[in-house]
């Protein structure tokens, strides 16, 4: 590979390379502990809310680098509402779930209205939302903790607690075959689809990426999926929360990459005036982004109270920062218009790995924050500087 090619490769896959390096580093520093099945599994269950929120946050950021500061409070509030309904009012769990989702959408729509149609800056609206819903969570919970330990179905479905895994149908001792089979099927599906796509494009004489890079990518991703399923199989199998996370990733990955609606988010962030003059209602695009954020915050609320088997007025604090950080580390542009769901997921995994690795190493909580902050800063500096053609100091 020539020098420019190497540079392009590094630029394209920076975060993946960084992720591999970071995992390697922690594997050495923790003498392999971080790669133990239990820790791989807990990486998912601990960070499920980040994956979900970061996906929603991506849509907001795409519209022009706008962030939603209220998500942590909304997570807490919807969780509080759900717990109160299920525990205090004995509402069946499925009904509570539906109500939580509706509450999330309404909150999202409320904030989205001011942002999209009245054009109040998102920073202000969501800062207000952050205060409002934090306060309301306290009101709903009366400042107390509500335990949802006894709502077992709810807890199991949303993947908290010790036994929230997809049941194994094969029942080997110490190895969850179901998980491995699911991983194998997913890999096979992935490979099949990729090859079919490539063949179809070749047949129509479209441009395809080089064989080396295509097969390289295919092998790499398959290996990751398989290794990951193998590790999970060695623990207790597929955490139920992983199903929700995957669902969100797949749905939103599809929306952003392949639908008209998804295209609009990128267009608004890329050039709002041009988008407007192309006959697209940009107000609606903003509205959709922030309403959707409410919906996903509600889902994250369920995941959060299920994992902690309770609702507390302090839950969800700084969740917005985790989500925003994952987006920017994952390559979303601070000016909008650029960013992908897979990228954001890699950003979230990187953040989660750093968290987990440092915890395993016994690094002080406060130092962990310092490191996370530095990683975020470095990621955005890299984004901005590389877009300026490598010049560090802005001259305009």
């Amino acid at each position: 590979m020539s020098k420019t090619k190497t540079l392009d490769f590094v630029k394209k896959y920076t975060m993946i390379i960084v992720l591999i390096l970071v995992i390697g580093l922690f594997a050495v520093a923790t003498k392999g502990t971080i790669l133990l099945p239990m820790n791989v599994s807990s990486l998912i269950s601990q960070n499920a809310y980040v994956f979900i929120l970061a996906t929603g946050m991506l849509l907001c950021i795409l519209t022009g680098g706008n962030i939603d500061l209220s998500v942590g409070s909304v997570v807490c509030f919807t969780g509080a509402v759900g717990a109160t309904l299920m525990v205090t009012y004995k509402v069946p769990w499925y009904l509570a779930v539906v109500i939580m989702l509706i509450v999330g959408i309404l909150i999202g729509a409320f904030q989205a209205f001011w942002i999209a149609f009245v054009r109040i800056p998102p920073f202000i609206v969501t800062l207000a939302g952050m205060l409002i819903f934090r306060g309301l969570s306290n009101v709903v919970l009366n400042g107390m903790t509500i335990s949802v330990k006894n709502c077992t179905t709810f807890v199991n479905v949303f993947g908290g607690g010790a036994n929230c895994y997809i049941p194994d149908i094969f029942k080997f001792n110490g190895f969850n075959m179901t998980c491995m089979v699911a991983g194998a099927i997913a890999t096979a599906l992935f490979i099949g689809l990729q090859i079919k796509n490539r063949a179809a494009r070749l047949k129509k004489h479209y441009e395809v990426e080089g064989a080396f890079s295509f097969w390289g990518k295919l092998v790499f991703i398959s290996a990751v999926i398989l290794a990951f399923s193998f590790r999970l199989s060695q623990h207790k199998g597929i955490p139920t929360v992983l199903v929700w996370v995957l669902l969100v990733i797949i749905i939103y990955g599809f929306i952003t990459s392949s639908t008209k609606t998804g295209r609009y988010f990128y267009a608004v962030g890329g050039n709002e005036k041009a988008t407007k003059l192309s006959g697209i209602n940009t107000n609606k695009v903003y509205f959709l982004a922030y309403t959707n954020m409410g919906l996903l915050a509600a889902l994250a609320g369920m995941v959060t109270i299920a994992r902690l088997t309770s609702a507390q007025p302090t839950y969800g604090q700084n969740y917005e920062m985790d989500a925003i950080g994952s987006c920017f580390i994952g390559g979303a542009s601070a000016y909008g218009g650029i960013g992908t769901v897979p990228g954001v997921i890699i950003g979230a995994v990187l953040m989660g790995t750093i968290n987990l690795g440092m915890s395993l190493m016994g690094v002080d909580q406060n130092m962990q924050k310092v490191v996370k902050g530095l990683v975020l800063l470095a990621a955005v500096i890299f984004d901005v500087v590389s877009k300026r053609g490598g010049k560090l100091i802005s001259k305009d």
């Binding site: 179809a200 494009r201 129509k204 479209y206 441009e207 392949s258 639908t259 008209k260 609606t261 295209r263 990128y266 267009a267 890329g270 050039n271 005036k273 041009a274 988008t275 407007k276 003059l277 192309s278 006959g279 697209i280 209602n281 218009g337 650029i338």
Partner: protein
């Protein structure tokens, strides 16, 4: 020998693909008022940007000799340090700061960073008196009118110890009375020994106030007229401004013009912020099938505003008037409506309003008609690639693949992508706003060919352009617009640049 305060010798400035200035000469005598005239895009502003250091030393060829010394200005600060101060057409004042604060912005009266307000206000008062503005220095800029703001700009320049004052279209946003006052002020400065360069379209003002006039055309300095020697009449100046020869820079076309396609009656639109200001004033015009209609006029005449207000009310407030397509009245309340009725507006500002520079050609091509490549809201990316490739071939867009970001293309190719985007919406009426701005001669010719193909296919084209040769070379019919009004309708074959210019000047 004359005492020149400023000589610009053999100035050449090239932008990617365009030679904006070609061996320009400018000599300004001490204590005179020197006018710079020329059509839009002739290179007047570029020349002044070279002088003031906005285009730094090294980015152009030639010498700037100021007070007998060759100067290398790297920033505006350098030129201002020598007493060369430029006042731009768009006023650069901060609305929520006071007159005094604005006057000394970046030039604060301060000791070790602490502002001396007494001195600031005293000095501000002094300079305001010189320019004859009776306002307290503590008045906020937003509370005074444009005419007074212009005076503040001049006072600000004086506060920088200006020896050579450059005014770019100083009266373009002023009314009659304020304009007159400003010109008198310049004459008064002249008596006090100040040298000024004034850029203006208003030739009556120029011939009234100037001692010498340098005419710039197509990036070249054509001639310098002297009040004592030469004829200063408007027709003489216009001849210098437009007197170029027409060659076959325009592809030939056999017009096949049929019924009226679009008709606009009594169209009026107001400014979105200053709701009492009429930007488009009772405009009537039409375009036929297979016809290219030109709208000529100066910058700020309201042409873009007219086009955008027609295009689904994307500009202006309180829009009134009637719009007929194929003889039927239609109401276009959104861009979506306009597109659905076969209208396309290709913006003059392709980077700001037209393209998403950070996105590939294919995504830009389909943006205004995503339905064409999608089913049930899901985009068929192969189809999208095909469509974009088709247009790439049809319009001759030079790029390795349609996956390339439009930000990396040349101006001409960007313009073609923008055209492709709107052609893909399958419009019947295309409004092309400055379709050849900032692109080179070869690409211009290709754009003209595309326009000819469009009308040959029975479409109607409305071309807004400040370049008179292309209006004359391409259009079957020409409307002249000035200050929001249609002031003339001319046949393409029976008109000349002088005639168009005189219609504009007459109503200015």
């Amino acid at each position: 020998m004359a005492d020149y305060i400023l000589e610009m010798r053999n100035i050449t400035k090239t932008f990617p693909g365009v030679k904006a200035l070609d061996n320009v000469q400018l000599q300004v005598e001490r204590g005179e008022i020197h006018a710079l005239v020329g059509e839009n895009g002739a290179g007047k502003s570029t020349l002044m940007n070279v002088l003031s250091g906005i285009y730094p030393y090294g980015s152009y060829e030639g010498d700037i000799v100021y007070n007998g010394k060759v100067c290398n200005f790297h920033t505006i600060k350098d030129s201002e340090g020598c007493g060369i101060v430029i006042i731009h057409q768009e006023l650069a004042l901060v609305p929520y700061m006071t007159i005094a604060e604005n006057m000394f912005l970046g030039n604060e009266r301060a000791n070790s960073g602490v502002i001396n307000w007494n001195e600031t206000y005293e000095l501000a008062k002094k300079y305001l008196d010189i320019v004859g503005l009776k306002e307290s220095p503590q008045t906020l800029i937003k509370d005074i009118g444009v005419g007074k703001q212009q005076l503040v700009e001049i006072a600000k320049a004086l506060a920088k110890n200006a020896k050579l004052l450059i005014l770019d279209e100083p009266t373009s946003s002023l009314n009659e009375e304020d304009s007159r006052a400003l010109l008198e002020l310049l004459l008064k400065f002249k008596k006090d020994g100040m040298t000024s360069i004034i850029i203006s379209h208003k030739l009556n003002e120029v011939s009234y106030v100037a001692d010498k006039i340098t005419v710039i055309r197509d990036g070249c300095s054509i001639e310098t007229l002297d009040k004592q020697v030469d004829d200063f009449s408007e027709s003489r100046i216009i001849k210098g401004m437009v007197g170029r020869e027409m060659s076959d820079r325009f592809p030939k076309r056999e017009p096949h013009i049929s019924d009226i396609k679009l008709e606009v009656r009594n169209w009026t639109a107001y400014h979105p912020l200053y709701s009492e200001r009429k930007v488009v004033d009772n405009v009537n015009f039409n375009v036929r099938k297979g016809e290219i209609v030109g709208i000529s006029g100066l910058m700020g005449a309201g042409r873009t505003e007219l086009a955008m207000s027609l295009f689904g009310k994307s500009y202006g407030e309180n829009i009134s008037g009637e719009l007929f397509i194929d003889g039927k009245e239609v109401k276009l309340n959104s861009v979506k409506d306009a597109i659905a009725h076969g209208l396309a507006y290709v913006t003059e500002d392709r980077k700001g309003n037209g393209l998403i520079l950070s996105n590939p050609i294919k995504i830009n091509t389909t943006l205004a008609n995503l339905n064409g490549v999608s089913k049930n809201g899901i985009i068929d990316k192969d189809e999208e690639y095909n469509v974009a490739s088709e247009y790439r071939e049809k319009l001759g867009i030079k790029c390795p693949t349609v996956e390339q970001n439009v930000g990396n293309l040349s101006g001409g190719n960007q313009q073609k992508v923008l055209l492709a985007k709107w052609m893909y919406t399958d419009p019947d009426i295309l409004i092309l706003d400055e379709p050849t701005r900032g692109i080179d001669v070869g690409a211009k010719y290709e754009i003209y060919c595309i326009m000819n193909d469009l009308v040959a296919a029975g479409k109607s084209v409305i071309m807004i352009s400040s370049e008179m040769p292309e209006i004359l070379g391409m259009c079957d019919r020409i409307y002249v617009m000035n200050e929001g009004k249609m002031v003339a309708e001319l046949k393409g074959s029976e008109t000349s640049q002088e005639l168009i210019m005189s219609h504009i000047i007459k109503t200015a």
